[in-house]
């Protein structure tokens, strides 16, 4: 926070006088005071002003001045800092805004989830997924490009190139008179409910998330998905690990879900880990109950 403690210039323009409703009582106020920064870098700025009701208000702003620990600059670099501007930079308008700080927070995007190793998933136990694939049944079908056995949908190299799902456009076809009729009525029909839509897919997706799901609660705030994966993967193969994160604080909300490939593994995990002391808290591990809706 920067507070300008410099005294106001004495020259008062008439235009400003007209606009100022707060009268010219400012001279009654004590001048602003700046205390510090002290040894801890605490700086206090005390200002006085009149509030809307005409009462005198004292505003104390406490700020901490920090020196950057690693700001080691060579003598030359410090000198360069005070070099006068040259070239086009001399007459640079204040409003030109050549240098701006991005309004967007840019993160280094990891190609896969933090801490989870892609290869790790098929090292434990019977490696059932891999066996299934080898057995001839092609499980790995990319939903984006339709390629079989090459990659999962989430890893599809053509993901970006895939056309937008056209479900919203809802093109009525000649062979589908009901759909066309519903469009003309103007009532919204969700894509999954439309005639000709693959009704199974939507419900399928939901069920998949609830399959062999184990709810883990009483987690400490420092527990991440990678930790849960480490803890649970010794019981069998996992399909999903999820820790609920509070969107505001970015901290864990203290519970999460783990989905197992095999139900037996999940059962074993529950019997072993329920009541297990983890990171100074006692874990509560149970079957996840599907949502009432």
């Amino acid at each position: 926070m920067v507070i300008d403690a410099a005294p106001q210039p004495n020259k008062v323009r008439w235009g400003e006088l007209e606009e100022d409703d707060t009268e010219d009582l400012d001279f009654l106020l004590p001048p602003p005071q700046v205390i510090g920064p002290d040894d801890n870098g605490i700086k206090k700025v005390i200002e006085y002003k009149f509030n809307d009701d005409g009462d005198k208000v004292k505003i104390t702003t406490t700020t901490r001045v920090r020196k950057l620990a690693n700001a080691r600059l060579s003598k030359r670099a410090v000198e360069r800092r005070s070099w006068p501007k040259f070239g086009d930079a001399i007459h640079e308008d204040v409003g030109s805004r050549l240098t701006m700080v991005s309004t967007e927070e840019i993160l280094i995007e990891r190609p896969r989830a933090h801490g989870s190793k892609a290869e790790e998933t098929n090292t434990v136990g019977g490696d059932s997924l891999a066996q299934l694939t080898k057995g001839g049944a092609v499980l790995m079908v990319c939903r984006t490009c339709g390629k079989k056995g090459d990659h999962w949908t989430s890893r599809c190299p053509y993901k970006d190139l895939a056309p937008q799902p056209e479900a919203f456009i809802d093109k009525p076809t000649a062979s589908d008179p009901t759909a066309a009729a519903s469009v003309t009525k103007g009532a919204y029909v969700p894509p999954s409910m439309r005639a000709g839509a693959d009704r199974s897919s939507g419900t399928d997706m939901r069920r998949r998330n609830e399959e062999n799901a184990v709810r883990v609660s009483n987690l400490s705030e420092d527990t991440h998905e990678a930790d849960l994966r480490e803890l649970f993967s010794r019981f069998g193969q996992l399909t999903r690990v999820y820790v609920a994160i509070d969107h505001k604080t970015g901290l864990s909300r203290g519970f999460g879900y783990v989905n197992f490939v095999n139900r037996e593994d999940a059962e074993r995990a529950i019997s072993k880990l329920n009541g297990y002391g983890y990171d100074s808290l006692i874990l509560q591990v149970e079957w996840s109950t599907p949502r009432p809706n």
Partner: protein
């Protein structure tokens, strides 16, 4: 991290360079004025007016007093970094593509493009300490490679010059005699134009980026291929972290295709790779066009990228970058 956006150039960026202390950042673009910025807050310090064409490249002396710039106006100019004054102009008969000061700043290697029936060439110029004594004559001229030489840099102890360009072959030349010492193997080497070349802080190895969608790490002395980093887009710019074992690749599809494809498919991120494991660590998004230039601050704590979109984006890393694990 919140990158700092610097919009000083009207046209696509071509090259970025930090000085040795890491407090100044020099940017070159296809507009005619190289610009210097403070590398911490992105404030513009000055511009170097005088070129009459796209500026392809620059280099700054170790003491941050002299700047050398190579331009498509067929000149290479020496500048006073502090005042922006022109000190000397080398005139060529074809556009200058790359410049590099030797260790000690007494020599500079300049490459010129093939132009009007002239072949490409590598010139070595002596740089006088006093600009009034500067002469234009070349200490050495090397000719031979076909097509443009996109980059030529000094090898260890100034004994060699490493060059690479349109013919996709990396070559090492003797800097005294101009003799060709080593050539990269056609089988293992790049398949398409080498667009960029950047050496490690200690000069022991260097990395090349190519339009064949890969970057390769080479030994500076023996020219043995050490590592290959595969990506899914043409590589326009490469750089290496001086602090961690990270290689950064920048690229994207050809500028002429940008308007015809979705921006998500353009792959305009700067991609971080682990130098040793050759695995991708992450990507930094932000540019609206392909990345043409990348530079790492010598302290390894920030890097900047320049794009076809005319922006320089200066990224100061968050603390968690320094303990990323694969």
């Amino acid at each position: 991290m919140r990158p700092i956006l610097m919009k000083g150039h009207e046209r696509p960026l071509t090259f970025l360079k930090y000085n040795r202390d890491g407090d100044l950042l020099f940017s070159c673009a296809k507009d005619h004025t190289p610009t210097v910025w403070f590398a911490d807050n992105g404030e513009r310090l000055g511009t170097y007016r005088g070129h009459n064409g796209a500026v392809w490249t620059c280099d700054v002396s170790r003491d941050s007093m002299r700047l050398i710039t190579g331009s498509a106006d067929q000149t290479v100019k020496l500048w006073n970094v502090e005042t922006g004054a022109q000190l000397f102009t080398f005139n060529f008969d074809s556009p200058a593509r790359s410049v590099d000061f030797s260790v000690g700043d007494k020599l500079a290697v300049i490459t010129t493009d093939p132009f009007m029936e002239l072949t490409s060439a590598i010139h070595v110029k002596r740089i006088a300490r006093d600009p009034s004594q500067q002469t234009a004559e070349s200490a050495l001229v090397i000719k031979g490679p076909q097509g443009r030489i996109n980059r030529a840099i000094w090898g260890p102890l100034n004994r060699t010059i490493i060059s690479a360009g349109e013919d996709a072959i990396v070559r090492i030349w003797d800097s005294e005699t101009g003799k060709l010492l080593k050539e990269s193997d056609k089988e293992t080497g790049h398949k398409k134009t080498v667009t960029s070349l950047s050496k490690a802080v200690d000069g022991s190895h260097f990395v090349t980026g190519s339009l064949d969608k890969s970057a390769k790490l080479w030994d500076s002395r023996t020219l043995t291929l050490i590592k290959t980093y595969l990506t899914e887009r043409p590589v326009n710019a490469v750089t290496m972290s001086p602090l961690l074992d990270h290689v950064v690749l920048g690229g994207g599809q050809d500028a002429s295709h940008v308007t015809t494809t979705d921006h998500r498919a353009g792959k305009f991120e700067a991609k971080f790779y682990d130098k040793i494991l050759q695995e991708e660590i992450g990507g930094v998004k932000g540019h609206f066009g392909p990345i043409n230039a990348l530079a790492f601050n010598p302290d390894g704590k920030s890097f900047s990228s320049g794009g076809e979109d005319g922006y320089v984006r200066l990224h100061h890393f968050d603390p968690d970058y320094f303990n990323v694990k694969i």
